[in-house]
Subunit: 210 residues, 2 copies
Amino acid sequence: MKKSNISNNTIRRLPRYLRKLDELGKKGVMRVSSQELGNQLGFTASQIRQDLSYFGEFGQQGYGYNVNSLREQVAEILGLTCENAAILVGCGNIGKALLCNFTFSECGVALKCAFDTDKSKIGTHINGIEIKNSEEILEYIVENGVNIAILCVPQEAARSVADMLRASGISAIWNFTNVDISEPHENMVENINFFDSLAVLKYYVTETKK
Amino acid sequence: MKKSNISNNTIRRLPRYLRKLDELGKKGVMRVSSQELGNQLGFTASQIRQDLSYFGEFGQQGYGYNVNSLREQVAEILGLTCENAAILVGCGNIGKALLCNFTFSECGVALKCAFDTDKSKIGTHINGIEIKNSEEILEYIVENGVNIAILCVPQEAARSVADMLRASGISAIWNFTNVDISEPHENMVENINFFDSLAVLKYYVTETKK
DNA sequence: TAGATTGTTAATCGATTAACAATC
DNA sequence: TAGATTGTTAATCGATTAACAATC
């Protein structure tokens, strides 16, 4: 039973800690202090210690943190060590990019299958994942206890598909559609929004030129 | 000369305001109050008025905001109305997805060409954009005054390509590589990090189950 | 005019940083 | 032991919210 009063800012820093610890581990570094980790990540040592303290005590006075054990514990905190079943909806270019390049297993996600409305794609496989008929989504989720849906459909379809996914009782949607779907439900939605990201980049590029 | 003391939080809300205003405009809605806009976006009216006030006065007491004019002004603030030349580096699945699906012109980005190291891709076109030899990147940036590089190369290549891009004097990198490249330079980097995003989603999914 | 809603200032709330006793 | 570094509490800083005079 974790405390849910931990700030979203803290949670969003954890994956960055994890990636750095992974990198250090692969280099053979055994121990790291909050100071050193902060230097490498651009955070203060205080912030790292504060963030970690919400979850327990992982270090040792006078020594710092063991890189590998901290890495494992952060992965544990993020829930990456327990598996969730997922499906991918919409096998256009972005869907395909995820299917081909993204290592779902590293995140504790078991990608079961994908869905599309295009008859010519149905029944085929991408990187070992079968593409099924979108009409079967609801049934599939219920029968297979799917927790996570990855939404890669065209913008026009985003809201109706999101509603349908919710009706199925899914726990979370990873939303790649550039459309806000977080509306009424208290359902978990995590957005990857290319437009928002590029707009922010444009702001800073334009600002520094003035 | 804009104030650079405006918080990143504020900047990141602006694209969401813009998308909602766009949606309202397309529906034919002429005016909107900060209250109504807040309701639809899940922000407080105060926050919206506070955010906008950093950039000027866009509303009218007793009336609210004109949807179309506010939309235009937010686009202006974000720098979407002035054009920047961009190149895309790495034409794998993600690169291809961007080339095929993303409307760069809506963001004030003129995508000039793409680059890859794969001989079989060089000289071909994706969605009208030519793929050139990566060896020509540096020269191309300098000669064509390119401001923005979109980094879609494999993880192993991320840092060396980023360093090379910086050496060319580029203003900003839109980074899709899941690798942190913001290290020493004060160069602008905006990240789209699938791993970080899915890890955060997993945290909340796992947390609510306990 | 009366009602509505802005832009802005002040109050509150939350997140980050600094400091330090505990201790390896 | 002495030096280093944690975990945690208190101080600071910044961001959000509330309130309200101005005004359309």
